[in-house]
Amino acid sequence: MAAIRFSHVSKTYAGGHVAVKDLTLEIEDGEFLVLVGPSGCGKSTALRMIAGLEAITAGVLTIGGAVANHLSPRQRNVAMIFQSYALYPHLSVAENLGFALKVRKEPRELVAARVGETAAMLELKALLARRPGQLSGGQRQRVAMGRALVRHPRAFLMDEPLSNLDARLRGQMRGEIARLQRAAGVTTVYVTHDQVEAMTMADRVAVMRDGVLQQLGPPRDLYDRPVNLFVATFIGAPPLNLVPGVLRWTEQGVELELPGARLVLPPKLAQKNFGLLAHRDREVVVGVRPEAASLTDDTEAGIPGVVAFQEDLGANMVTTVELAGAKRRDGVVVEDLGESGIPRVSNRMRINAQSGARRVADQAVGIELDLERLHYFDPVSKLAIR
């Protein structure tokens, strides 16, 4: 078990492509850290640098306090679980599990004991004689887990280990991996592009984009206090709604002008957020979590809108509403954001209610916002306004 620390680590490929830019990040001993981001964001490269499968171009990587930059993978004693599982096709499940111990020339009795113990823990006992080719996807995944667990390594590195499983099994294995990690207490770095995995499994989440760490924190912090538009829209499903707005100081207090409505912000909220003052009379991007808005049939209340369609998810009802009040603004906001991998600012809003009345398309509705839970972003810098 060991803490892992990146300090100012970069990875530049021969062609000049920078995969990871100046990454500084400390993963505590025993922590479950999830590296999340869209494909090509550098998360897998960062993971492979810990494993020693990718050379570090600049900066220092330490594992357990010792500099690991130039250590070979075998000297690092970290276990990696690959997206493809990378099981040895010519070896049986038992041999796959015991491979690392055998390479380290552990006594035969110890290998057998550890393999037995791990197989029992992962319910692989009946499969020990089989070859990987004879296993189902879920079974292979468990063998890959077992191969990492059997070694008692200093850290687990997991590269999208659930992405090849079907949705049901994925949900089941999420819980299983988190449970096994807590039981083993081994430092774990888990790479995924699935924000649900990040939210449900991690102690802390690191969001990456274009090789740059965007935000690091507990899942709830990222959800409630995203530092920029990218993190705000990447975390959360359905994603954060982005609506154009203007902040105005009036006699009634701070007013938020949204398409079709003017809302007066509670005085304490406006006073708490100094950043809002700096954006006085300027266009901002307003972020509304789908559950921070609710629908009412009273079209006079809240923001007027028209139902576009509804998705009944059983426990939840997601309604997409077209804001009726204003036409799309074609300012800097709309154009810029669409290009940078962030959902477009639009006059549509998805509203997620635990249960809701069925509404038909084109039905006029009112949208009531939970003003305490709105997010504000600068349309130019894309940073959260605080």
Partner: protein
């Protein structure tokens, strides 16, 4: 509907039989002449029923040192196959795992080496072997076959290793293997069908090599393929002896193919893409 399917099946079987007849007729004829008295060999119409004779085999044992011929063929085939694999397999692996996009061109270059007509290289190689004192030895033929076959092995194993996922070797590295350890204990077993297919090709090429063996060996290092030519005398061709000798030059390869047929087919269809 059923009749049509039955007809199609029948047609397919007939086509297979036709192909088999065309392919096997010369072989059957070659083998059959070994058991025929000389006067029956070119009898017209061909004698399908005849009383078999062992005379031709007896004269093969009398006039040829058959065991020396087979030993030479075997030593050359196995020697050049082992050397070709020792050189070609690691080279193919290195090319397959190279990050440079130019590696593929180098792999094709090796394939081109195998396509050079051996006759074009014979005279320079002959002079070279004479100068280094290896003319007339098994080594001369082994080295030349190795040069050509290892190039083929490089290309073939390159294709196999490229088709095998590198993540398995990376898993071995994180499991504690050295680079060489990962190559030996994980990468090689994964491409076992390719290794066997490459070895079969090498054995076949070397065993059937006539040109180099003809010019670079001498009486006591001659191979069975060269001995076949001895059945052609200055005045006539001893067809019966040729048929009997053909048994000994063909059967070892046929036997090997029957045993390893499964891997050979895999080798032809897998990895090569």
């Amino acid at each position: 509907m059923r009749d049509r399917a039955g007809l199609a099946l029948l047609a397919r079987r007939l086509a297979i039989v036709a192909v088999l007849i065309v392919a096997l007729a010369p072989v059957v004829w070659l083998f059959s002449i070994a058991y025929k008295p000389t006067r029956d060999i070119f009898a017209s119409p061909p004698q399908l029923l005849f009383s078999p004779t062992w005379d031709n085999f007896q004269s093969v044992f009398r006039y040829f040192n058959l065991w020396a011929l087979l030993r030479s063929s075997l030593v050359i085939a196995i020697g050049s196959t082992v050397l070709s694999l020792i050189i070609g397999v690691p080279a193919g692996y290195a090319l397959a795992r190279a990050t440079s996009p130019r590696a593929i061109w180098l792999a094709y270059f090796f394939l081109i080496i195998r396509t050079v007509p051996p006759i074009a290289t014979l005279i320079p190689f002959y002079l070279f072997m004479r100068d280094i004192g290896l003319l007339g030895t098994w080594w001369a033929v082994i080295m030349l076959n190795t040069a050509l076959n290892s190039a083929f092995v490089v290309w073939m194993m390159f294709s196999f290793f490229r088709a095998a996922p590198a993540s398995i070797e990376e898993a071995a590295l994180t499991d504690g293997c050295t680079d060489f350890g990962a190559f030996v204990s994980v990468a090689l077993p994964t491409v076992a069908p390719g290794l066997i297919a490459s070895a079969i090709f090498c054995v076949m090429f070397s065993w059937n090599d006539f040109l180099y063996a003809m010019f670079l060996t001498k009486a006591d290092t001659k191979t069975i393929s060269v001995a076949l030519l001895s059945a052609c005398g200055t005045k006539d061709i001893s067809w019966g002896t040729l048929g009997a000798l053909a048994h000994f030059s063909t059967l070892p390869i046929v036997l090997m193919m029957i045993l390893l047929n499964r891997y050979f087919v895999q080798g032809l269809t897998q990895g090569v893409h």
